[in-house]
Symmetry: C2
């Protein structure tokens, strides 16, 4: 399988073409059921890059996602190869054996139209909207934490022989168009003048200016940016923010892995962790009265802790019990005395992943406040000065995540409300 | 271009077939000159993997290297895909624009026969043989140091946009058969029981046994082994020992890059540095009388220092003057205050490369003494006990290189003779 070359048969599917298209495939026709002309088709894409149709038939429903040849949020003037659907599908295929219960079932991939027909998730909503609305999801932290642990372990040099990993590396190294977006928008634009940047102005003007002249901060980001490109530890989702998670009270699914590539595990961890922090910082802007969201905020921090701890526990268990790759090879560490040495090493490596998570979380937080693509958590706060206060507090947190040497998740989660309280005190 | 699939036209060239084969190509026919039936053909391969023919015509000469489908040193029972010639040729092509004066000129590559026709280097000899013979090469350290600096910088995220690097990564990630050899023989076999291992016995029995139970040492090696697989900093030669360098007094060329892949820059540095140290440790075994090789040993250490310093200076200069990649992007570090911060970072990164070099050097030294493929430096010492003394001293040095935290090349080069002197004292 390959993604090279554009398909000459590519065309975008208009709403009226969706049902006839699906009806050509017997297994989809059966799944939807009844007369295809009566299937209901709705376009619901609210992301930046794709058409998303929900299709309901007499007996079932599906979701059809088609890659557009440009960035939807910017229009045809920012072209974007639709081959990213190839990588999205390849990611779903790769993680299905080990983490399939946390992704949608895939019914069909069309390499000509760059579209994927998959399980329609219902009654799920996008996690970001749930967080803004103040809703809670008891299994959220555990689900995403264990998902990342399984998806990354089994594509790492711990989980499998390097020959398999290098095949995956060959495949996903072709996803350069989307990796370029991440490189530019996460690691570069926020720290230089760019016409794509925007921020809440004039309130954040000084802080944004300061970012561009903060040498130590830029250095910390540049190191993470280089490692993003040159440490393919495992297959990553590549864009695992709270808009890429669908939830209802009893289920959690990861979607939209078109940014998939091989990189540092902390990057996926940090995307999710950083977006939980953004949700935390945005809560005062969604409170009908002061303090109304305090309980929800505490739940978000508890979820962030649970997320990390479940990731850590699952990854350690996999490493202890299923290590069969070329990293720390079993045949070399087979003695009794090796057991303790290896266990110490595992814990150290997990401490390193914690630091990576915090650093990448900070990069993600910053880019969502001063860069091209913002988040609804803040954007939906109508009062500009209130929004700026939330954003400014999040930027201050990100800076500390990047520049201090964190040793435990508890230290981080204790810092977050303390830092905000200190800032409030400083203002009053 | 691709290396996948075996060529159905592949056959090994017998000596009698070489001249007729070369004569079919007009540019080679012209280069060699005269009547093809009178060209002189000699097979000179002394490596582990290939046929090497030197061909002399009336007006010129060439070298033809053909990959065999098995490990020559082991015979057809250890198969080895001849596609490695594809990667060798791809490496030569990749480094030619920036480091072409330190590799042979390539005249022709045949993707069916997996053979490369290249410049015949004369009066060059293999560096390892020169070192054993006690000969000196004034430009050696500078040449190899600058070669590695240029070959790696220009394939790194400092030297070029990541899209180019990922194409290179896709290409060389296919070279898994040869990467597997490195993984097994360098990072795994020496630290476990393996029928491929051998050592000078019984003198080194205890030390070899100790290697398999030395948890801290195995951990240090395992970390380097994991990074070997998961940190594609730059395109590497992959096997840059003193048998992959051809020299005469005024010229130095790097050959045999069939192990090429993308990995940590310290791996190439360490291969060369470690083999210089092996040469140093072997010198007493080649001395006609005690002390005869003292001057030569000093020259080897001076060369090791010059090698590192020339690498460092060249790499720093390239980074300062030609950085145009996505790592530490120029557009982000464009302020006056950034200059100092970036310069400090460059020096820190080079300190990191020094540590990597020493670690990988140690891995290479150990595998050449207790693993499958040994080096002529030691093998040519007929007196077994004398050889064991040299090898044992080299193993002790490797252990210190791996387990101590080295801060300068001077500290390392001072340690080497001191450690040996202390050991001699301990024995007497």
């Amino acid at each position: 399988m390959s993604a090279s070359g554009e398909s000459p048969a590519y065309r975008t599917l208009a709403p009226g073409e969706v049902a006839p298209y699906l009806a050509t495939r017997p297994e989809l026709r059966e799944r939807l059921g009844g007369d295809a002309s009566r299937w209901q088709v709705r376009e619901v894409g609210d992301g930046n890059l794709n058409l998303v149709y929900l299709v309901e038939g007499a007996s079932g429903s599906v979701c059809l996602k088609q890659a557009l040849p440009y960035v939807r949020a910017a229009g045809p003037s920012w072209p974007m190869p639709p081959q990213r659907a190839f990588y999205e599908h390849a990611y779903y295929r790769a993680v299905a054996p080990h983490a399939g219960s946390w992704v949608p079932a895939i019914h069909h991939y069309d390499p000509d139209l760059y579209c994927i027909v998959m399980e329609r998730l219902s009654p799920h909503i996008i996690l970001r909207r749930g967080l803004i609305a103040g809703r809670r999801y008891p299994t959220l932290g555990e689900s995403v934490g264990r998902f990342i642990a399984r998806a990354t372990f089994w594509s790492s040099d711990l989980g499998l022989a390097f020959e398999h990993k290098m095949r995956t590396l060959q495949l996903f190294s072709g996803n350069t168009a989307l990796i370029r977006i991440s490189v530019d928008l996460i690691f570069q634009d926020p720290y230089r003048l760019s016409p794509r940047n925007r921020h809440t102005s004039p309130e954040l003007d000084r802080e944004v200016e300061a970012l561009r002249t903060d040498g130590e901060l830029k250095l910390a980001v540049a190191r993470l940016g280089e490692r993003f490109l040159s440490e393919p530890q495992a297959l990553l989702h590549g864009d695992l923010h709270s808009g890429s998670v669908m939830v209802h009270e009893e289920d959690v699914r990861i979607i939209d892995p078109e940014f998939a590539f091989l990189g540092p595990i902390g990057f996926d961890l940090g995307a999710f962790f950083g977006n939980l922090l953004l949700a935390w910082y945005a809560q005062p802007g969604h409170a009908a009265r002061p303090g109304e969201r305090d309980g929800h905020r505490q739940w978000i921090l508890d979820t962030a802790r649970g997320f990390w701890e479940h990731f850590r526990a699952e990854f350690l268990t996999l490493w202890r019990e299923h290590s069969q790759g070329d990293a720390y090879p079993r045949s070399v560490f087979s003695g009794d005395a090796d057991r303790e040495i290896l266990e110490r090493e595992r814990r150290q490596r997990l401490d390193g992943l914690l630091r990576d998570m915090l650093g990448y979380a900070a990069c993600k937080m910053i880019r969502r406040i001063v860069g091209f693509a913002h988040v609804l958590d803040f954007e939906s706060i109508a009062d500009r000065r209130q929004r700026a206060r939330c954003e400014s507090a999040a930027l201050a947190c990100a800076r500390r995540l990047l520049l201090e040497s964190w040793r435990s998740i508890e230290d981080v989660l204790a810092m977050v409300p303390r830092l905000e309280a200190a800032r409030e005190l400083g203002r009053s």
